[in-house]
Assembly symmetry: C2
Homo-oligomer: 341 residues x 2
């Protein structure tokens, strides 16, 4: 019947419960001044009738924003966010917001942020981006909290963010290669300005250096986090008159590109060249040979991001404005001791 009549109203519930509309309203709004028995009864009836009210607050949503093309990285993050959101009973609205010069952006940052607030977003999760100051201010004015996942710029105290231990990951990659006996290793990274890229590089270079195997400057390349850059950057490194015996790539896609370039030159991986990636996305598993890589717990990062975003939305204090989840080395078949000279 209630399906015939459309959505149930408070009046219907009140009628069924034998209480006033006001009381039902109180239960709905979590007021304290309701007797436990009454509350339980009303809550039960609300459920039974699939009461849903109106307005977006009844159906909380979080906006998850990616800024570039979606790849294997996005996929893992997404699964983590969706897992946590299902548990929290929050819907996730996905959107793509390419990073354009502010002037070209439509709608303006203000309209965009107000639109999100109006649509009832509890919070915004922005993945892997250097969020424009304009957007940040607009979100703030609109009262929508922001959480940055895997921030591209060093974590500022103004912005809450979740990342992984990129520096430690770089250290682990170096230690692995050193243990195998490599003394001459190269770094082929992603965007020079990205904090994660910098941290990976510094962990790697510092560890190699401390072991007496400094990474020569001309074996360090910062490109972009893409397969094509692995292809091209790998070629540059392998063209070196004294080429490296191992290459640590800024992410898995770059690593797979390097492997492909090695292959086209008749080099065998790992016999003639060792390659280490970063991320441990699906592409690392599909790679041939299987890619030794530094695993980022992207799924967990997604889950933590969502939960933290909801904390911010609820006005609860967060433990720290930036947390990092642990990376770990996953050894597969793309690394081996260097070929004897």
């Amino acid at each position: 019947m209630s399906s015939r009549t459309g959505r149930p109203t408070l009046a219907v519930i009140a009628e069924a419960a034998g209480v006033s509309v006001a009381t039902v309203s109180k239960v709905l709004n979590g007021r304290e001044d309701v007797a436990p028995g009454t509350r339980a009864l009303v809550q039960d009836l609300l459920q039974r009738h699939y009461y849903v009210g109106r307005g977006p607050t009844r159906h909380p949503t979080v906006e998850l924003i990616f800024h570039g093309p979606l790849g294997a990285y996005a996929t893992e993050v997404l699964e983590g966010v969706l897992d946590a959101s299902a548990q929290a009973g929050v819907a996730v609205v996905l959107s793509l917001r390419p990073l354009e010069p502010p002037a070209q952006r439509t709608p303006s940052a203000t309209a965009w942020a107000l639109g999100l607030a109006a649509a009832g977003r509890q919070a915004v999760i922005s993945v892997c981006n250097e969020i424009p100051a304009g957007d940040l201010a607009a979100l703030d004015r609109a009262g929508v909290p922001l959480l940055v996942l895997d921030p591209l710029v060093a974590a500022s105290p103004d912005v809450t963010s979740v990342g992984s231990t990129n520096y430690a990951g770089g250290v682990a990659a170096a230690e692995h290669l050193l243990a195998l006996g490599h003394r001459r290793a190269a770094y082929l990274g992603g965007d020079r300005t990205a904090a994660c890229n910098q941290a990976r590089f510094h962990g790697f270079r510092g560890t190699m250096e401390a072991a007496g195997c400094p990474v020569p400057e001309d074996l360090v390349l910062h490109r972009r986090f893409r397969y094509e850059e692995g292809l091209a950057g790998g070629a540059v490194l392998l063209d070196h008159p004294d080429p490296p015996t191992a290459i640590f790539a800024g992410n898995d896609e770059i690593a797979v590109g390097v492997i492909e370039t090695a292959r086209t030159r008749g080099l065998r991986v790992p016999d003639d060249l060792s390659v280490v990636g970063f991320d441990d996305t699906h592409v690392a598993q599909l790679s041939s040979p299987g890619l030794t890589t530094v695993r980022q717990p992207l799924r967990d990062m997604g889950s933590v991001a969502l939960r933290t975003a909801l904390q911010l939305a609820a006005g609860e204090p967060v433990d720290s404005h930036h947390v990092e989840l642990a990376t770990s080395l996953v050894v597969r078949n793309s690394t081996a001791p260097p070929a004897p000279r």
Copy 2:
């Protein structure tokens, strides 16, 4: 000021426009009985004040549902859906709904569908699934239209769906291999019951047969659309006493698995074995050698799906309860003439 006062109300707009609240309400609801000048004025003011009203209908959303783990396939579909949704001004809520036995499902189909309706979903897009009859009926009762993208079961007139020309894709794969001179080809497909898998297989087998090169029954395997199945299924096919010179895989992931298995056996692709995939996702490009594959326009399918879903939501008639977008063969380096015997 309006930011201080919270969201603007109709009264604010009416005041600013010098008309009554009733008139503003009419403009908002698209009523006819408003003078064009008045309408324009009010609409302008509504914009300026970022009027947003309340209730979900002001902020239309479409629910996009995936049923398995997200992979490269999902990524492409997603981008297409998001493209179209940005243009249409509709938010996309993403969710994962694993296909479990109905009894184990929480919440029940009814509660789930009513929840979607209550949250204001204009429509549901379900990707690649055999939608349980219970869900279907529940959505229907809740008044939420459903669109299936790449349906796993043959398109029934009750359900609107968007797919691609799988049969033609199978034909194209066969023709390509035949043109290269292959006479003994195998099929390593995905789920036997999936309509898309069946269509690919039948197009392939029929074309091979018509050319006088029937595909032997023991060179046909239906497994699942996964890399691991390519690994294992490829081994079975290559273990055949009279192994095929080419394998047509049900999707790219399977194809990459086959290539890997070939490699571990010292077979070179394409010299010793040709492999054709299906989908042309990112994994086909990352594959080494680059994978020859039948391209599904997954992005376009996503866009069409969203637009069609909105048509259904608006009660507009759709051209056909099922449309298929064209597949096309993308030739890369995993196919070549068979090695001379």
